[in-house]
Amino acid sequence: MEEGIPRPLEVEEHSNFTIALALQAAGMGLPYLPTRTALGSDFSCGPHFSSIACPFTGEKLLAVRAVAPDVAILHVQRADSEGNAHLWGNLGVTREAAYAAKRVILTCEELVDHEMILGDPNRTLVPGFLVSHVVHARFGSHPSPTQGYARRDDEFYFDYHRQSRSLEGFQEWLRKWVFEAGDHEGYLELLGKERREKLKPGDELFSPAVNFSV
């Protein structure tokens, strides 16, 4: 990437917190959000940051410019065909990204009935009207994990890190896992049945049910 292969990319430097705030700002319909982080960090000199004063206390803060991605691709455990989805386990900036993006593509482990989503509205990621596409893709987060559905494929990461050290290795990796795999079915086939079995998590650990009675 540093050498601009195949073409240069523009990079905005962020910390984990500032990129989360940039997404949150966009999702809230704001042009920026203030923060106390990164006030002494050299990357906060970029044009997507601005030093500001609190209008009440006068103290120095950092403004983080909103980032509205053109598209967010998010993987969930359950979605209905309208994009209403249940996500559990790791959240990170998933909700912020879903609210911020101009289009949201959901991939899901299970395509479920609308009725199942209504059974636990507190677990809905975002209302379906923010979602533009739903894709049913078992192991759709591979090689990353999905709580309850897939373990992390540590070996796959090790291989990738090894191969992507050289341009040739990376291209070879791309050829095999992207171009020749063709689609998600091809990718899963390439992964092989044995490996997929090994990725399946262990004993079920179900959450305690909650009662929504009225």
Binding site: G27, M28, V214
Partner: protein, 252 residues
Amino acid sequence: MDYTLKELMVVAAAREIRDGEIVFVGMRLPLLGFAVAKELHAPRAVGLFENGVVRDWPALAPIFTMSDPPNICRSLSCGGLIDVMSLLQSGRVDLGFIGGGEIDRFGNLNTHWVEENGRRVRLPGSGGAADIASLAGRCIVIMNHERRRFPPKVRFITSPGYGEGRGWREGKNLKGGGPARAITSLGIFSFDSESREMILSSFHPGVSIEEIQRETGWPLKVSDEVRETRSPSVEELAAVRKYDPKGVWTNN
């Protein structure tokens, strides 16, 4: 009349909702209007409540507040207040319903205080109304039409309409479109696209334009195409009564 005034108002509110729209729903009449619209011409409309609830079908049972369990249960999404307000602030809400203690000729609403017999009477304040009035794509106002509630200029702007007229909202950087309609107990009003002043577009059956003028605190503008408000159809009335079988909200 084989329907009540409030049934007529509910039906008028329902007609403002287009299919597929994202609607910030209030309680009482707009809530019923949303249910009627869903039942009839807008099955794909989605309702937002400021407590964080998003519903694609009406509540399981009659409710007094948006946080009553039948409005939460089997909702599409139940997040926080800031989640739904973020949708509003980012321009993703097509319309919202609000009411008020006073409304003026530019559709500004006051729900903070009024004077009665020389004494200042405190009203409930904004609630979510100022947010909807500021930020929704368009606003529908529901009001009881009495002269003391229709001054030429409200004493306090809680929920902004068009302020002092054309250009005022833009000057304030208000992103929402402002009031599109006022549905009152006497008629239905739109707002002039140039002057932004309230214009009578229809009078309810049995109400005269003169009566409406008498109950309005400024010289009323009347649309060239003014007509009688269309009565509820059989289907519309059936839908209203399905969701308010005991007339809790719609008995006069």
